[in-house]
């Protein structure tokens, strides 16, 4: 049970990452791999501040802000300096590695015994449950800590999802979606498409960093390596979400990205439980995304061949 709850919690936390990747890859068609660096950046900023006694809510917000800035830098390189989008992301990601080490002062910052959002959640949960240390969910014993962290994460993600959906219905958000869809048209309507991309990537990486900040506090440490492969992970979640709910409605896609993230994490948790070597995880994730990307065109080919054969 605690395995399931753990997978759910991490799935929720990483769904922020999926939402960020959704913004860059799907809304702007911008292959932004800054996320690998900004995920760690969010964790590093939050962890360093918490260790120095800053309120964890403030520290988490600072993590978001740091990611926001990192995304804006990538966007500026790509639009103002006309550097290829992929390369812009690589440059910022590479630079962030050193930045992250400087922020943390070493390669790993443990948060055990510090006041984090996790301890806040536990305090809230204990109050709500009247001091019990565990509760009974359908016959399973669940610790108050696990349950309250899951609850708090769920609230945070639901709030972010609703905010994001609302944002994309505003004048600014609509202009952003149009920028990714048809940049010539949006320029002809008086919008500086470069600024839209900068702002969009900033929001995207802000969300990714926020997920990093949450993750560090949940797992109890920030590590300079923790962001590696995050882009592909987020992409896998987005793809699963699209397969689950389709791509017609923005609200569906946002829910789908969250669902995809949770489902993917659950699958991984089960696979690890069944004896999958954790070292193979990234390779399997990459192969999965590869398959998901080529499958639609393979299916079309297969189908058209069948049609031809049936006509012959």
């Amino acid at each position: 049970m605690s395995l399931l709850i753990g997978a759910l919690t991490i799935g929720f936390i990483l769904s922020l990452l999926a939402l960020g990747v959704f913004i860059s890859f799907r809304i702007f068609s911008f292959p932004d791999i800054t996320a690998d660096g900004s995920s760690t950046l969010g964790a590093a900023v939050a962890a360093a501040m918490i260790v120095n006694g800053v309120n964890p809510v403030v520290a988490t917000a600072a993590g978001f802000a740091a990611g926001f800035v990192a995304g804006a830098v990538t966007g500026t390189l790509a639009t103002k300096f006309k550097i290829n989008g992929l390369l812009s992301g690589i440059l910022v990601m590479t630079g962030l590695y050193s930045v992250n080490l400087h922020i943390m002062g070493r390669s790993n910052v443990p948060l055990l015994g510090e006041k984090t959002l996790t301890t806040y959640a536990q305090a809230i949960g204990t109050t709500v449950l009247g001091g019990r240390t565990s509760l009974n969910v359908m016959g399973w014993e669940v610790s108050t800590l696990d349950a309250s962290v899951l609850g708090l994460t769920f609230v945070a993600i639901a709030l972010t999802g609703v905010l994001l959906y609302a944002f994309f219905q505003t004048h600014l958000g609509t202009a952003m979606r149009a920028t990714g869809d048809n940049s010539r048209m949006i320029r002809a309507l008086g919008v500086n498409d470069g600024n839209m991309i900068v702002l969009g990537l900033a929001v995207s990486n802000g969300l990714v960093a926020l997920s990093g900040a949450f993750l560090a506090q949940y797992q109890g440490f920030a590590d300079v390596q923790m962001g590696i492969g995050m882009v592909v992970w987020g992409l896998a979640s987005v793809i699963i979400g699209e397969a689950l709910v389709g791509t017609r409605q923005l609200g569906f896609i946002i829910c789908g990205a969250v669902m995809g993230s949770i489902l993917f994490r659950l699958l991984v948790a089960i696979a690890l439980r069944l004896g999958l070597n954790p070292n193979d995880l990234k390779l399997i994730t990459a192969v999965f995304v590869f398959l998901a990307l080529i499958l639609p065109s393979l299916m079309r080919k297969f189908r058209s061949r069948r049609v031809r054969l049936s006509h012959a």
Binding site: T170, R177, N182, R184, M185, L189, G190, N192
Partner: protein, 270 residues
């Protein structure tokens, strides 16, 4: 109102692919003028329109609108003064956004994009009312993605978007070239109606002699990056398709003569 002075644009300068797209063009549009531009392929007519729209910055010369020098203004800034319809129906609209979302983007042309709701009930009612005026039955589909519509429907909507806020200048870039004849006629009728109703100053590039002869009050012929003839007022009203064809034939002959003459000179002297 629109004034071009000695405008020149060379693409790929200094390479084997160098194209002198427009060379020293002077052009003045009066307030409320409806000017059609025709010309052969590669004559620079679309380039001229894009130079005004700011798709690229010109190499030399000045462009001014209402007395303001806009030569160095970027495209998105000029958009506050201009409405545009493109040749490709896919260029003027955002396919994955709904009809209503596309139109509400156009209703904010040149204005800062803020965090207000894009589509409230009032905005949607207005959109429905104005889409209804197109007589295409699209008012029931305003929550559908625009990508599901035909080219003609998209061009009609793009025209509505370009003129939603009355532009100081309307730019039409062969906006019926990609349409079937029936849709083309429909879009031309809509164009004529909106230009007349709002007295829009309009610059229209066209491939159709027919449109050039029948629409607008001023006609410009371009060839090899230069304006070779201008018809205005009574002269424009008298001009028929045959006259235009004859003039183009003349130009073509002159070209051939130039080339053979050059060849002959080359043979003799090189």
């Amino acid at each position: 109102m629109l004034e071009l002075r000695n405008v020149t644009k060379v693409f790929n300068p200094g390479t084997p692919n160098e194209v002198r797209a427009i060379e020293g063009v002077d052009l003045t549009l009066e307030e409320g003028a409806f000017v059609a531009i025709i010309g052969t392929n590669g004559s620079g007519k679309s380039t001229l329109l894009n130079a005004v729209a700011g798709t690229f910055l010109v190499d030399s010369g000045t462009i001014s609108l209402d007395g303001t020098d806009i030569t160095r203004w970027p495209e998105h800034r000029r958009a506050s003064l201009m409405g545009r319809v493109f040749q490709d129906p896919f260029t003027g609209t955002s396919p994955n956004l709904t009809i209503a979302e596309n139109l509400v983007l156009a209703a904010q042309r040149g204005l800062p994009r803020r965090l207000g709701w894009a589509l409230n009930r009032k905005a949607k009612d207005e959109i429905r009312a104005r889409v209804q005026q197109l007589n295409m039955g699209l008012e029931h589909l305003i929550d559908n993605p625009i990508g599901s519509l035909s080219g003609g429907q998209r061009q009609a909507l793009t025209l509505l978007m370009a003129t939603w806020l009355k532009p100081r200048l309307l730019l039409l870039d062969e906006h019926t070239a990609a349409l079937d004849p029936k849709s083309a006629d429909q879009v031309i009728a809509l164009t004529d109606a909106v230009v007349t109703r709002d007295r829009l100053t309009t610059l229209m590039v066209t491939h159709s002699m027919h449109q050039a002869a029948n629409l607008g009050d001023q006609l410009i012929m371009m060839h090899r990056g230069r304006i070779i003839q201008e018809f205005r007022g009574a002269e424009k009203r008298r001009t028929r398709v045959d006259d235009l064809l004859a003039r183009f034939e003349e130009v073509r002959r002159a070209d051939q003569l130039d080339e053979t003459a050059a060849e002959m000179l080359e043979r003799t002297y090189v």
